[in-house]
Every structure is written in C-alpha cells, then in structure tokens.
Symmetry: C2
Subunit: 267 residues, 2 copies
DNA sequence: CAGTGGTCTAGACCACGCT
DNA sequence: GCGTGGTCTAGACCACTGC
C-alpha cells in the first residue's frame, strides 16, 4: 500500500543506467548496508510478524511485491527463496506464495523427530495431565527471555502411540501470550499443539533448538509412562522461536525409545 | 574439455530467440526432463565423484563452466548455489569455488553434534581400541549396500574430552574402499577421522543420517567409558554417504551426556 | 485464458582478493 | 588492474492452476 520502499537503503545515486549499487557507503554516512533482497526479506518478515498476512494465507505475488518495493521481480524472488528455504513461506506453482502453517500434513511432524522403528509415522494421542499458571523460575525466565517471576503457563501431558505411552512433555509458555490456555481447549484439540498455538494465540513457530541427553526414569516418570524405574529415556529440551527469533516456548520431553527412535539428518 | 554439453536435455527446437525450453517433452520421446541447472548440477557432481576436482581444490569459475556447458552464467550459478547449500562446495568471494573438505575448522564439528554443557567445543582425543577385518554380517551389509560376507573393516575407539572418556564408537567400513586402514595410521592422525578418510582413501562424506536412542551402559561399555553399569547413554547410529548418496560408513556411537549434550537445530 | 511461480538469458555493476 | 563470486535488472518463455 504505502511507500514501504522509502525505508530501503537503495543508494542509487549517480552511476549509469540501472543496476545494483546498494552497498556503496556514501562518504561518512550510516554504517552498515545489506543487499536489497535482504532488506526485502526483512520487510516481508515484518509484515508476517505484524499479522498483515496470517498463516495459511496467500501473500501478494512476486510482481506485486516488486512494484510495492520498487525493485525487480528477481530481487523479490531471491528474498522469497530464502524465506521458503527457512520454511517461513511455501511456494505453490500456479497458485502463489503462502504463509507457512502448522495446519498441514507437511508440517505435522516438522518438530517431532521421534519415528517408529517399524511401520509408518502417525500422530500420537494426547493426554493432558496438568495445566497451571505459575511464576517463572529464573532458569525458565532466562530461556524464554522474560523476567523471573513473570506469569507462565505450565503444562504436562503424555503422548501415546497406539495406546502405548511414549512421550512425557512438560511445557512452559509465556503467560503474556498464552493466558487463557486451559486443559479443556487442549483436550478438544487434535493434532500438534503448534496448530492450536497458531490459531488460538496467533503464535507461529518458525524454528526450534534442541538439546538431547540420556537419562533414567525416576519414580514419577516411570508411573506416567508405565515403565520401570531406571529405564533409559531421551531427554529433549526444546526452545521454540517465532518471527524475529523470539523464544516463546520451552519444552522438556522424555522419549521412550524402545520402539521408536529420534531421527536426524546431518548435512 | 570435451563437449560434455552434448549430454544435456536442451530441447531448444523451434521457438524464438533464446530462453528456457527444457521441459517440453517432444511427443512420444524420452520420459523425464529436468531443469537445465539440475542437469548442470549433476554433471558437476559427476566430476567431483570422478575425482576431476579433489576436496580442497578450486573448481573452474562460473564463466568457464558456463562456457563448457554452453549455458549462461546464471544457470551455472543456480547449480552451484544448490551444491553450496548442500555443503558439497564452498564459495569464496574474490577467490573462487572450492570443493568442500573435512580439513578445515569449519568442518571439524560438522558431524559431531556433542557439545559441552559449559565451555567451548574442542576436538576430543582419540584412542583406538581395536581394528580388524571381518565379513559383513547381514545387517551391516544391508545398511552399507554391500553383500553379506563381503570384507569390512571393523574399528572401535574411545574419544575423551580433557581426559574424560565420553564417546565409544564402533565403525564398519567397506573393505573395498578402506583396506589398508590400520590402528597405526589412525593413531598418528589428529582430528576427525573423516579427514583421514578423505586424504588416504579418497572418500569424502557429504551427508549422514542418524538414529538416536537412550540405552544403559553394559559391563563392557561401562569399563571402556569408566562409568558404572546402568548409566544412561545416547546410542547414535549413523550412516554416512559420499557423492551419489552411496553409503560408505556405518557407525554406532555411545555418548556419555553427563557433561555434554547432543545439539540439534530444527528448521 | 490470464495469473502465478519456475527457468533461462544477457548484461551491468559491486565487493573482494590477489598481484 | 584483473578475475572471482555477489547483486540487480529486464525481459523472455515455460509449467501449472483455476476460471
């Protein structure tokens, strides 16, 4: 709509017909410049963050964006290419470019790397054990980039594959975003919680970071997962991020790996 | 050198001046076509596989390749872009494009995801426990895509961080490629084994696939890692692939995660 | 058929590394 | 100063989708 283009670093001062000319710093002026397509990428990300285009929706065509930002289609293309490779956006030939959403078969298992040793991957059943509001302990606050004592929602659940309890999850969510999250709403929701987070709380996760360790089941855990005390489990600590790399979920999962394994591709 | 271009699918028959025209299948002829840049990518990969350019070496410039393949620089660029994002090749502005190698700081930890809970990551010390030739068991043969009973090299080692045994590795390597691998050569080699594999056996790994489980240390393992029986460990089973997605290494690692964790980025 | 993303080309200029 | 990869443009044609 408005001239978003005015924010660009396009220092196309003197030289020649058309062409790049982005990164030439005028003597003695502002410090850093970045390629045009990076700036476009940032602008698009900001529009996503501000909710101008919501998950699942169609964003303007490359030509439209090129016009809006006053750059060539190729430059917009390169920006979108990167967003696409980061799974922020999905391109569909002949249709357009869509904001990535967790409400899709493609995304069902994006963050769930536990796959069965045999048979096909299917989504587990959910059982909510506990939901409560609490004040963030120092460690949780640090990881979520909020203040100690700030309100957080704590959540515990067990996930089962074909009736076999396999995952015990504990989550901490910033109260500022997730207030109003109840066991009821969680129980009536099917599929990945990230779908609910997106629809009900307007928070879409774009990436996550995990730390994995091996631990043994204590009494409490053993009971919930219906295994013996001492059984080895995968301890997966995850921090999930939304647009702008803001952490918005802390999750600790305990995975039973007697019939499943954590799959990872190194490249 | 020779007209490698003759192998291209360029079906630039009739229409107009220049331009795409790759994926139009002439009525009733060969089945599948792929974009030009994909074909270029395949040709480059074949040259890598054949050893025309070795790890660490400079490959021809984009202009040269464009001339060789009779396509535009942009098309070569897109092919190289993908190879670069797959870590097959490394671009250096002002210098050229180089074949990726494990002999670099950048690549030291590419496949080793175990990082210390505190402090900086440093490369562990190696102790070779055992090296022997054997006949491939059915399971090993299947995973390495060779025949049961084929010769394989089996290798066991312990890796320590600051003197603390942390990783017990068992490896199976195809004898056809790795014959001549001895404990001696392994012991006198510093840094990741992949560096040695590359220099001494001409085999460069481009990607790997891992399956992770939690297990408990048995008596044998406990002794080697200097821990108690029953201590929980990460069991990491890895298959590594070289050019053309050929599996060339099977590795089972047991990771002690009391002072380290396995780090993974989900995106 | 029109509109979208996907491929390809040709040519310009830039930042970088070397000599 | 020259050669390299990196950015940007303009314009062509293609394949796919849906009206």
């Amino acid at each position: 709509m408005n001239s978003t283009a005015s924010t660009l670093n396009t220092q196309n001062t003197s030289t020649s017909t058309q062409g790049a000319g982005v990164a030439n710093s005028p003597p003695g002026t502002s410090p850093t410049f970045s390629p045009l397509y990076q700036q476009i990428k940032t602008l698009i990300t900001q529009s996503l963050q501000s909710g101008e285009w919501k998950p699942g929706e169609l964003i303007p065509s490359e030509m439209e964006l090129a016009a809006r930002f006053k750059v060539s289609q190729g430059t917009v293309r390169k920006a979108i290419d990167e967003l696409s490779s980061e799974n922020v956006v999905v391109r569909r030939q002949g249709k357009g470019t869509f904001v990535a959403t967790h409400h899709e078969a493609r995304s069902q298992f994006r963050f769930l790397r536990l796959v069965p040793d045999e048979g096909v991957q299917r989504y587990p059943e959910n059982k909510i054990i506990e939901v409560k509001k609490m004040r963030a302990p120092a460690e949780v606050a640090r990881l979520l980039d909020i203040k100690t004592g700030d309100s957080v929602v704590f959540l515990r659940r067990v996930q089962s594959f074909s009736g076999v309890p396999t995952i015990l999850d504990e989550l901490w969510l910033p109260g500022a975003i997730f207030k109003g999250l109840t066991a009821e709403r969680l129980n009536e929701y099917k599929g990945p919680m990230y779908g609910l987070f997106e629809s009900e709380f307007g928070t879409h996760m774009i990436r996550a970071s995990e730390e994995i360790r091996a631990v043994c089941a204590d009494e409490f855990v053993a009971q919930l997962l219906n295994v013996s005390v001492g059984v080895p489990l995968l301890n997966v600590e995850r921090i999930s991020f939304t647009y702008g790399d803001r952490p918005v979920e802390l999750r600790r999962g305990l995975y039973l790996t007697s019939a499943h394994h954590y799959r990872n591709e190194l490249s």
